[in-house]
Point group: C2
Chain length 476, copies 2
């Protein structure tokens, strides 16, 4: 996440709020409509540290017709409205910056079907990602996209943000699994786009356009997802290096050797400190660790793959390779990986995490330059993440508000460096509010202008999720 100073946006005038409150009361029960202070505060933030923006009203529609009616009421009264799922986003995409109505999809949380024969699932947007993973697993199927927040994020949010995760290396991201959508446009019109089949090319790929639109072009009220046969075996190994640079070079060598693991997660020496002394299998003094996970249909095949990965890594300077011997050991490795982000908060009181991607070959150079940047500015920089596909979570750790000017400089430089290497400012967290003022670093003016016109095409009033993705007019 980046760290915009908390900004003030125009608020909705009370008369309009009363009018929309009354209109919403025609459609939703009193159980589905809130404006008490406690609820407003609860829905005022996400996981981005972008600030606190309480909505004026929170609506909890339970059907597509209700979502449509809420959208129509907001449009009729000229009140801004912002959809949200679990509010676990890291870019401020669900913040209600101008107030108005927050439209929570969390109560639309039924898994409508999981079909073994068709390799598909049909879900409502409020379904927790992990619940679908388990439902698929129970019938021998597999839903690969695995954002770290899978235990609490929602599939609707995953669709809005086009969420990724460690397994994206082999299996791609949310977008690769969305076949069809029931979609409510900003004016409340309900469409079915895409398909229910594994393939299909009839007409424009509206699903492609809507997935990743960060709640600015409408919301999904039903999602048809592709599932795949569950790989019969998974093996996980931890490879230790004495420096993150060696580890980064080894990742490239592994991929060049013809193995495509399902994850190649890098953890640098700072991130290792964050999880040290908690019983995880990292040898003291390790400079870096890589979690390698392979999957497939035979154990012998996977053992051979891991042996090959081990050989390559040893040749590239790995000091140790440990293969998880059972599910408990495997889970322990992943628990350590998930603990990195919260653990870093214990090293310094504050941290900022940037979700950047560079062409894979630039990972070693990026890490080197980020460390040098930290040294130059006197800030601790941790790097970890899905380095196999070039996606790093680069964290800046700092002591307190007095260092914020330095941190802001570090963010600027980090994103500039990323773009200069041919990279992108966001790999999987989205632009949202947190990065809108940096989008122009990466995209040319005419490309941004075209997207703004598309937003206006779909949402002429601009009332749906305002102040997101595109630079604020004064930055443009």
């Amino acid at each position: 996440m980046t760290m915009p100073s908390e900004k003030t946006f125009p608020r909705v005038e009370p008369g309009r709020l009363e009018a929309v409150w009354t209109a919403l009361g025609q459609t939703l029960s009193s159980e589905q409509l809130r404006r008490d202070e406690e609820t407003r505060q609860r829905y005022a933030r996400d996981e981005s540290d972008s600030g606190v923006y309480p909505p004026d009203i929170i609506a909890f529609p339970e059907t597509t017709a209700q979502v449509s009616a809420v959208f129509k009421a907001c449009q009729a009264q000229g009140v801004p409205f912002t959809p949200c799922g679990a509010r676990s986003g890291k870019s401020g995409g669900s913040l209600s910056l101008r107030g108005g109505v927050m439209v929570s999809l969390e109560r639309m949380n039924r898994i409508r079907s999981v079909s073994v024969e068709n390799l598909t699932a049909v879900v409502e947007p409020g379904v927790i990602t992990g619940d679908l993973m388990r439902a698929a697993d129970a019938v021998g199927l597999f839903y690969p996209p695995d954002p770290n927040s899978w235990e609490f994020c929602t599939l609707g949010g995953n669709v809005a943000e086009n969420a990724g995760g460690p397994r994206a290396l082999k299996y791609g991201v949310t977008r690769d699994y969305v076949l069809g959508l029931e979609w409510v446009l900003p004016d409340g019109e309900v469409l079915r786009v895409g398909r229910r089949t594994l393939k299909g090319v009839a007409g424009y790929d509206l699903v492609g356009l809507f997935v990743g639109s960060e709640g600015t072009l409408g919301v999904a009220t039903e999602i048809t997802l592709q599932l795949i046969p569950r790989p019969r075996h998974v093996l996980t190994a931890l490879v230790i290096f004495d420096s993150v640079m060696r580890a980064a070079h080894a990742l490239s060598a592994v991929l060049a050797s013809g193995v495509l693991p399902r994850t190649l997660e890098l953890i640098d020496e700072v991130a290792l400190q964050a999880v040290a002394g908690k019983g995880y299998p990292f040898p003291p003094g390790a400079g870096s660790a890589v979690i390698v996970e392979v999957d497939g249909s035979t154990e012998e095949g996977l053992l051979a793959e891991l042996a090959q990965v081990g050989e390559v890594c040893t040749r590239m300077g790995a000091t140790e390779t440990l293969v998880a011997q059972n599910e408990a050991q495997r889970e322990k490795l992943w628990a350590a990986r998930r603990l990195v982000s919260p653990g870093l908060r214990a090293l310094r009181p504050h941290k900022i995490s940037e979700d950047i991607v560079v062409p894979r070959s630039c990972i070693p150079s990026l890490i080197q330059q980020l460390k040098a940047l930290g040294d130059r500015l006197g800030l601790l920089v941790a790097t970890y993440g899905h380095a196999g596909d070039g996606n790093l979570h680069a964290n800046i750790l700092y002591e307190g508000p007095h260092q914020r000017p330095l941190v802001e400089e570090a963010i600027q430089q980090m994103l500039k460096l990323t773009v200069e290497m041919g990279g992108t400012i966001t790999g999987e967290h989205g632009v949202g509010h947190a990065k809108r003022d940096y989008l122009a670093l990466e995209q040319a003016g005419p490309v941004i202008a075209l997207q703004r016109r598309l937003k206006t095409f779909f949402d002429p009033s601009g009332l749906l999720n305002p102040e997101k993705i595109f630079p604020a007019p004064d930055c443009f």
Copy 2:
């Protein structure tokens, strides 16, 4: 392909043609501009049997700037223009229905880079798909999408149509490999959209919208593609069944058993007749055959996978399973598969092939009903194709023009049946001209209307590739 009667469209008046010819001469050399009868006839058709529509002028730009200038000249003179690649499309997408200027991208055919470190390739749109496959293979990488026409189709055409192929079952379609595009909009503006990294979610997914837009929203002048490590081993087997229904049921069982082959190609008894007696390893009297191909990093693993597939198939009634013992045997199997389509033409003088997809579980029922439909109408129906992902190429064979009314009825019924099963009228060939009048069978009026408005958003004059995808006004 479907079989619209050849229609007459308004042609461009001679004065405008002269004006655009002169304007194009300012940008292109005489070598890059043709209007002789022979060239016009050569560019008058594609592989769809949709008719013969000679363009008035054929332009061969060699740079992005030239493509842009050609588009601008056509817009300025009010002359329709239609992009084309290898004209191997099967839905009439590159037919110059209203005449005007055909813009061939075939001379932009350089592979600009293949990067082992980044797992990417940058290509011009006129590169033959097979040439990129070989260039990737030469450095240990793999470009999975494999339309049957890969030896002559172009990557620009693959992007326009979102081409698939047998390997889509495991590896997805063209869209899954396009990271970024240099794109010329209908008005000649040049944009870079997407990214060069393996992941990225900054802004709307314009790449997603443009891929598969069938040459109606602009053209790609540079394509950045993702490659993957080449699987170290591939094994191919042929499984014989005594009926296509048994084979169809067995496919489902294979996928349910947790194996994900890279192809599961079905060939029915009629299609087998089409390749009989040519030295291919199909036992006489076989009712159906399935080509199973698995890939991975160890041979032992693959042998175990194939053994499992064999077991499942035997349980489901397979009479024989033959594993290709070397590359020559493998290639022979695929040569047989590629020969099905031309071979069917030898069984009857005429054939129509429909590229339909149903939810996988409906494949047996679809085949049964198609055969019954053929019996009812007295037409021979062949079914073959990528049945593992529900994508069938259903062929109607017939004797001559006197049977066309029957054939048209068969097409209508086939597409209706497909849609009623939750399927789509085109899995990988596109709507183009051939299926535009059937799109409304599958998509609701408001969805088609939204797409028409998007077309107008990008191309207000409607001069780029007119009369494609959306139903003709009189059918709407």
